[in-house]
């Protein structure tokens, strides 16, 4: 309300659960509400009738347009004046979830160097905790925005329209290559915009997997940040990659409410491709996804309880979720211990034998410290016990390649993911075979069963 009042914008609340103490004008005529809002008699109103809201909002916006043009916030020069009030106490930095160097930026702004404030624009998540903490009440976010005003004004980005559910016909096309691992995985980029180092990291994760022919699905803030990240030629990923639900495709399913379409796609694979019945059959669907569908969720800007519950909606279906470093604040992770063989056993539905399948997927809910760690972990979590030799080789080649690039070495846990020699990526055969020999690896110690965690799904017992 304070922000809106400062820039002369009337507020219409539409829910009594969040009415900001505004007078209830639901029963008043639209003309009366518009007049009171336009003349400034009231700062805002609660209107519960959505038809009245639509009419009153449009009419009021037209009426106040002229008045608002005369309403100016501070100028760039005022930023310097305001910055001189800064005491460099550091309370803002302490309150900032991303530990941004606000004090240093203020010091520079005092000397009319606004570049450091401007550089915070992309990194700031806009939570305003700094403003609440500031003992001299500096409008820090407005100062940052003003310092980078040109960029803020020019912010226009093409985005692929949020398209909703993945269609059944698309699932029929990709069901088999996903389940057998030939499409190396489905990466879902979800979560809030509370990124540790700006939204560009989301686009970086997306492109890393698009180049490798994973299917990349995005929603909400992540879908927007992918649009807002341009390469040297001024193109974003939506302009560079196709929008179909297939290898190398980038799909925007829609808002974060549309996350259900992502888990829905995994459920459809079990239902349409594998003909598992849906009704009253959650256990079997989750068992199928966990053991066969190489999908991984990445909520790089994990923030709200809503984001945490979206993640929970995925991992309870057997889709591992990697969250950004802020996700550590949930204090709840679902971590596997890859070295404990007894933890990684399933039934072979073909003969009822309990067999060791290696740590796939190793974790179900995991906070990564850096974007590089997240990329490597995500590629590893795409492996499933049902992968064919060819599928596992494709997935391993990505895991090894990414590990070498970001960690500077071949993964130390490689022997846990190679079941037999045919799993080894062809181009890495000599190098990997030697590593396996040195680690005491034994062929076929890791089984390739028809995997299930449900005893009742065993078809025949020996």
């Amino acid at each position: 309300m304070q922000e809106a009042k400062a820039i002369g914008i009337p507020v219409i609340a539409t829910s009594e659960k969040s009415c900001l103490g505004l007078p209830d004008m639901t029963t008043e005529s639209v003309d009366k509400v518009v007049e009171d809002l336009s003349t400034g008699k009231i700062d805002g109103a609660l209107i519960i009738d959505p038809r009245k809201v639509g009419e009153a909002a449009v009419k009021t916006a037209i009426n106040v347009s002229k008045r608002r043009q005369s309403k100016k916030t501070f100028s760039v020069k005022d930023v310097s004046k305001l910055a001189k009030e800064c005491r460099s106490c550091g309370e803002c930095v302490h309150a900032c979830p991303n530990n941004l160097p606000i004090v240093e930026a203020m010091k520079a702004a005092k000397e009319r160097d606004y570049s450091q404030l401007a550089s915070l624009y992309d990194l700031c998540v806009g939570c305003a905790r700094c403003e609440s903490a500031c003992p001299v009440n500096l409008p820090i976010i407005s100062m940052i925005t003003k310092a980078d005003e040109k960029k803020a004004i020019l912010e226009k980005y093409p985005i692929r329209v949020g398209r909703g559910a993945i269609q059944d016909v698309e699932i029929r096309e990709v069901g088999s290559p996903i389940v057998f691992g030939e499409i190396p995985g489905v990466i879902a980029l979800v979560g809030c915009a509370n990124y540790p180092a700006g939204g560009n990291d989301v686009a970086r994760i997306a492109e890393e997997f698009l180049k490798r022919r994973f299917i990349v699905v995005a929603s909400g803030c992540s879908a927007m940040n992918i649009a807002m990240t341009k390469d040297d030629e001024g193109l974003n990923l939506y302009q560079k990659y196709p929008g179909n639900f297939d290898a190398g495709g980038l799909v925007n399913v829609g808002s974060c409410v549309a996350n259900s379409h992502i888990s829905g796609a995994a459920i459809k694979i079990a239902n349409i491709f594998a003909k598992r019945p849906l009704r009253g059959n959650y256990e079997e669907i989750a068992d199928y996804i966990m053991n066969r569908v190489g999908a991984v969720g990445v909520a790089w800007g994990a923030m709200s309880q809503k984001a945490a519950s979206i993640a929970a909606g995925c991992w309870r279906l057997g889709i591992p979720v990697v969250v950004g470093p802020h996700g550590a604040k949930y204090r709840r992770m679902l971590l596997g211990r890859k070295e404990r063989e007894e933890d990684w056993k399933v039934f072979n539905a073909r003969d009822g034998q309990e067999v060791y399948i290696g740590p796939v997927p190793e974790h179900l809910f995991y906070a990564a410290e850096t974007v590089e760690e997240a990329i490597v972990m995500t590629s590893k979590l795409a492996m499933r016990p049902n992968d064919t030799n060819k599928g596992r080789a494709v997935k391993l080649s990505h895991y090894i390649d990414l590990h070498q690039r970001y960690f500077g070495s071949t993964p130390e846990d490689l022997q846990l993911y190679v079941r037999r020699l045919q799993d080894i990526p062809f181009t890495m055969k000599d190098e990997i075979t030697k590593i396996l020999q040195d680690s005491g690896w034994v062929e076929d110690k890791i089984a390739s069963p028809d995997p299930t965690l449900l005893d009742r799904l065993v078809r025949r017992r020996q």
């Binding site: 979830p97 530990n99 540790p196 470093p325 802020h326 550590a328 604040k329 204090r331 992770m333 971590l335 211990r337 974790h363 995991y366 906070a367 990564a368 410290e369 850096t370 590089e372 760690e373 490597v376 972990m377 970001y406 960690f407 500077g408 070495s409 130390e412």
Partner: protein
């Protein structure tokens, strides 16, 4: 912290987990490390951005490594920095995996020789405290 005596720190935002203790000075850390029988120094992803008298925190960790009195483990992708600086053998483990193992009394450590009685964390983003 690993030691039972040291679980007097702040509780986290929710009941149950305990936060690590933030040490007031390097001297306190040095004394604790000297007293420990099997200390572990966890070096986080921000180490190459923190200046020290050696250069940065990775350089300092490499110097400490040479004393062979404390085991050093790099989290996230920081092992890459050690390798770039010609360190061939460096323990590397993601922070979540490490935290999960440090709380396990059965864990035999990175070298398989037993549990650690002190874990000192440095170079991590502050919100991991």
């Amino acid at each position: 912290m690993m030691s039972g005596k040291m679980i007097l720190g702040q509780t986290a935002e929710i009941p149950g987990p305990k936060k690590a203790i933030i040490l007031p000075s390097a001297e306190v850390a040095a004394t604790m490390i000297k007293k420990a029988k099997r200390p572990l120094l966890v070096v986080g992803s921000e180490a190459n951005k923190i200046a020290t008298k050696d250069g940065d925190l990775v350089d300092s960790a490499i110097r400490v490594m040479k004393n062979r009195k404390i085991t050093i483990v790099a989290t996230a992708h920081l092992a890459m920095e050690f390798r770039k600086r010609k360190v061939k053998q460096i323990f590397s483990m993601p922070l979540m995996n490490l935290g999960d193992r440090l709380r396990d009394p059965q864990w035999k450590g990175l070298d398989g020789k037993g549990r650690y009685d002190l874990a000192v964390f440095t170079g991590l983003p502050y919100y991991f405290e």
